[in-house]
């Protein structure tokens, strides 16, 4: 794997700890801006939804709940599988940094196009109600969002693996379980606050 691709997929072999934590916090703050302007909500660790109106407070609560859920669950998973051999700052730093792809995702709703398409799709006509431009937009936005989510999950997996040193099938199984628990926890936190 060449260096630039490796840095995109697994930057944590070179970047972790406080450096990635500070960059990640900056990333988190930056991702609030497009989310606010393009009405996006990160309402779950794996979620991105567009609504007609979103407040800054909601976006911040979403972000904090997601980060807390991921950090908490990954740390517990690491402790259970590997024991107390890792630093909490590495888990936090790499998890925060992994949210990087979510900076670009809200741009898909620039000008409200995605939301318009979404409201057409939920009508009884469904796909048939889409214009040819909307159908093309649906295809490209699906590919784009799929790319974002795959990149994000890949980053999260490497964040978990590098920061806790869990390897092999244990890493895959515990990561899947941890992601599912973090998703449930984040949803519970977001909708209870």
């Amino acid at each position: 794997m060449n260096l630039s691709l490796k840095l995109l997929v697994n930057p944590f072999e070179r970047l972790a700890g406080y450096t990635s934590l500070w960059i990640g916090i900056l990333v988190g703050v930056c991702s609030i801006i497009p989310a606010y302007f393009f009405n996006a909500r990160y309402d779950g660790v794996l979620d991105l939804h567009f609504t007609s109106h979103v407040t800054l407070t909601k976006i911040i609560i979403d972000q904090l709940a997601n980060l807390f859920s991921l950090m908490f669950v990954f740390s517990i998973a690491g402790l259970l599988v590997k024991g107390n051999t890792f630093r909490l700052v590495d888990v936090c730093g790499t998890v925060v940094f992994s949210r990087f792809p979510f900076i670009i995702a809200p741009f898909i709703n620039m000008g409200g196009g995605f939301l318009d398409m979404q409201s057409t799709l939920i009508k009884p006509t469904g796909l048939a109600g889409l214009s040819s431009t909307q159908a093309m937009f649906l295809f490209f936005s699906t590919v784009f969002l799929l790319f974002v989510i795959v990149w994000y999950v890949t980053l999260l997996y490497h964040a978990y693996k590098v920061s806790t040193n869990v390897k092999g099938w244990k890493a895959i199984v515990s990561f899947i379980v941890a992601i599912v628990i973090a998703e449930v926890l984040s949803k519970a936190l977001i909708y209870s606050i």
């Binding site: 944590f12 072999e13 070179r14 970047l15 972790a16 700890g17 990635s20 051999t85 890792f86 630093r87 590495d90 790499t94 590098v162 920061s163 040193n165």
Partner: protein
Amino acid sequence: MNKKLPLQCPSCTSKLSVTSLTCEECKTTVTGTYSMPLLARLSNEDQLFVLEFLKSSGSIKEMASQAQVSYPTMRNRLDDLIDTIKKMEKK
């Protein structure tokens, strides 16, 4: 040519012992069966890691900065080496 010390038997993959030692000056040869010390049984890469670890006074942070990798990456290499040594000790 920099010859690599064989660690495993090429036939059955069991660990090898030293049976002959030769003085480089007078060519006197001592024979017998001597087990290899644990550190000598590590791979070249692991032996280099141990040397670097000692030279940096056990500072993983310094080793990580020299190798231009993150702290957990270097720490993971150390943890893997510790696991390898523990497994070798059990055998």
